[in-house]
Amino acid sequence: MPETTSEGGPGDGVQIDLISGARMSGKTSMEKIRMILDGVRDGKIVVLETGLTPDEESKLIEVTMTEINPDDFTGIEIESFPQSETNDTSLLGRLMGKQSSSKLTVIGPANQIQSLHKDETLISALVSRK
């Protein structure tokens, strides 16, 4: 490849950002989505320790759609572990924000992830360089 280096990192490596729940907790929904999409559009794989709420997920899809363009962004791949039995759908549980707790989520650029496979206990991603 000629002199162009990706902004995601030096050379042709793939950068992976593991974002802790603490780092996400103070942010608004739009800030979280911006952070995720900025990373993914730079070619990074973003791993969230605590995932997003359903509402945030729907906004993530919506904003992703508005940013897709034929030149450089075809969208995202996303996988997360199901919320298992700890999922508390009671009103109190929801107020306590349990819905988004401990839901490890992996998000990456659709054109670089060749396959993102999941079962109950494993998420496996095959990532190509830019």
Binding site: T53, P54, D55, E57, S58, K59, I61, E62, V63, T64, M65, T66, I68, N69, P70, T74, G75, I76, E77, I78, E79, S80, P82, T89, R94, Q99, A110, N111, K118
Partner: protein, 214 residues
């Protein structure tokens, strides 16, 4: 929702239940992944109860790129009439690559336009799901794996909004159809098998629509 919007909607909800007969129709969104048969279903419902169709169906994904609405569809079941607006939405996805349309014999310009329309339509459909829908018919192609992230997220979003949802396992006329796999994927909801194309099991679909959205 703002305070006034909320007030207004709760007032209209109260008056809707007081004057159930001429109440506003419920807005029922038909959601699901691309190519599941949403438009085929919407057309069948519309033809069965109003005489005309909603929009074109196609084997090419993202045929529906703008949500289409069929208003005031009256469905009669067991002496009960439910009045719904059917909203056929574009198939929800997290990615759209225009080059995939090139495989369907499309020129680049047309493929790019199709993908732009698709992304706008999906964005709009997601927005509506948060703001503007009273119930959801979630259509899945029962020959395909239902355990996808998009399906899981969408059902999660629908549940978090407490919207009534019916899961339809479509394309039961095909040999590879696996209804059990669909009901296993979403055991917390009722799964109804059907073939929207052949019109199989539509009676049960209408019964459930009346029960869930009436």
């Amino acid at each position: 929702m703002g305070l006034f919007a909320e007030l207004r909607s709760s007032i209209s909800r109260v008056s809707a239940s007081l004057f159930a007969d001429d109440s506003e129709p419920k807005r029922i969104g038909i959601y699901g992944p691309p190519n599941a048969g949403k438009t085929t279903l919407a057309n069948r419902i519309a033809r069965d109860w109003t005489g005309d169709a909603v929009g074109p169906e196609s084997h090419i994904p993202h045929e529906t790129r703008r949500a289409r609405r069929k208003e005031n569809v009256e469905i009669k079941r067991n002496g009960k009439t439910v009045n719904i607006d059917i909203v056929d939405t574009p198939g929800v996805t997290t990615k759209v690559d225009y080059s995939e349309f090139l495989e369907h014999d499309m020129e680049k310009d047309e493929a790019v336009r199709r993908s732009r329309e698709a992304t706008e339509g999906v964005a709009e459909a997601m927005h509506w799901l948060r703001e503007d829908v009273d119930g959801v018919i979630y259509v899945l192609d029962s020959t395909e794996d239902p355990f996808t992230q998009v399906n899981t997220m969408l059902i999660g979003i629908i549940e978090s909004r407490d919207l009534p949802v019916l899961i339809l396992a479509n394309k039961t006329d095909l040999g590879e159809s696996n209804i059990q796999r669909v009901s296993n994927a979403f055991p917390q909801h009722e799964t109804i098998p059907l073939s929207a194309l052949e019109g199989e099991n539509m009676d049960e679909v209408y019964e459930k629509i009346a029960e869930y959205f009436g």
